[in-house]
Subunit: 265 residues, 2 copies
Amino acid sequence: MPRTSQPGRSVSSRLLDVLFAFRPGHSRLTLADLTRETGLPHATVRRLALELVGAGALKRAPDGAFNVGIRLWQLGTLAPPSVPLRTAALPFMDDLHTALRQHVQLAVLEGTEAVLVERLPAGNAVDDMSRLGGRLPLHCSGVGKVLLAHAGPELMEQVVAQGLTAYTEHTVTDPARLLEQLDECRETGVAVVLQETTPGADSVATRVLDDEGKVVAALSVVVSAGSVDLRTLRPAVVASGLAVSRRLGWHPSAGVEEAQSDRSR
Amino acid sequence: MPRTSQPGRSVSSRLLDVLFAFRPGHSRLTLADLTRETGLPHATVRRLALELVGAGALKRAPDGAFNVGIRLWQLGTLAPPSVPLRTAALPFMDDLHTALRQHVQLAVLEGTEAVLVERLPAGNAVDDMSRLGGRLPLHCSGVGKVLLAHAGPELMEQVVAQGLTAYTEHTVTDPARLLEQLDECRETGVAVVLQETTPGADSVATRVLDDEGKVVAALSVVVSAGSVDLRTLRPAVVASGLAVSRRLGWHPSAGVEEAQSDRSR
DNA sequence: TAGGCGACGTCCATTGAATGAACGTAGCAC
DNA sequence: GTGCTACGTTCATTCAATGGACGTCGCCTA
């Protein structure tokens, strides 16, 4: 007797379960992997996965394993703020990168994390575990603090509720202390983070504003701790952030919008 | 009496129709747009689109329009050869970019077109209509000719069958002439294209090989016609292509694999 | 003010597409 | 041989997807 186990779930949600089983570090999945990951019967998973392959959303390797297809990648390039933001930011990020020879990162807010939407790595600089499409904590990364500072109190509550994980011995885990930092960041538009995400990595981050003065992204430079005087980085980062903002239509007269209550999931 | 019009189609295919209705230039779609685009009843489209929004695959703007969501973008970053290829190529592309101050592009083969998976634009250089995630014709772009030259005869037949569209007055539309160029490209590993895609834009492209000597991508520099002696570009492009290939595990002893019959998609 | 139009939202009787347990096969290990 | 895991295929059952119909809202023209 079929149709026995999981009623009440839509086909679409099951299909999306299969899709989103692909995560960083799980980008190559066999049928068995997908079955485990989704908890669905393997016959169901197989049907769905093959349908995705047929549409070009997934690709099947000769050995039977599944991969994300190029068509999905193309779809992803259409995601805002990717389109205008990346286009606007890349030239200035590149300038920063050329001038400083350090990691330059651009991140946006997604749920209770920061997602890296662009990244220019400096081969000889410190590695800070982040990668394109990767996620960084809001409470202890440069870009994270900038985004958190401008996102309104509800998000702060959520982040605190989830627990301020200590990634290093320098991570700020005291909510009151964090609030102070965010207040300062909101005033200055800059966050300086010293070895809070990764030991040996400092970061200077600033906000990127759209034409309405809303914070749509954060731009940061990550450097090896102590290798550079962060005070010299600050003007460069701020200037680049403003340049990107202007390119997005922002103008000083637009100011900076306070605490929007975004329902962005 | 419902269930009247389109039987024989799976839910999944309909869902994917909705997803893939988002294309470059159609990245922001209203419900009515989606209805037109997919040809499905608006009640159906609405249900599917909202389910996609619920999963974070799409995002709905306050005004009701739909956009591709960041989660899909993240999924896309997992698509091979995006992961290792982009990582391996970016540093060298950046070097090329810094040295030449011209557009630097990385493309892979997808169906009968080349897809731009990475792109460093030069603000002051000629604009050549391509964008990240965009598609270029195989028969008249630098990266396209490189990919086509190494893809085996079946693809060549397909491309010819589709017609060698003349994008400019310089586009090679004679199959015999194109074959000659591809033969040469296969020998030298380089394709030089003079104003075939866009008037005023020249391109020098080379292949990128993986550890098995298979051509997995093409790397090119696009310059304003006549602004640079292309013979000086050639060594730089070739060297960068080889550098990326080495980073992917290729070694001169692996050679270059001939004409694989790829069953992609 | 009335009437037309398009976009969007909601409802619900009908039914065919999705389902998944069962079975079969192939490869590997011991 | 026996046991295990991965993968493929089948098919009776049934419930979730369907889409025509109707309602609402805003906008335009007369």
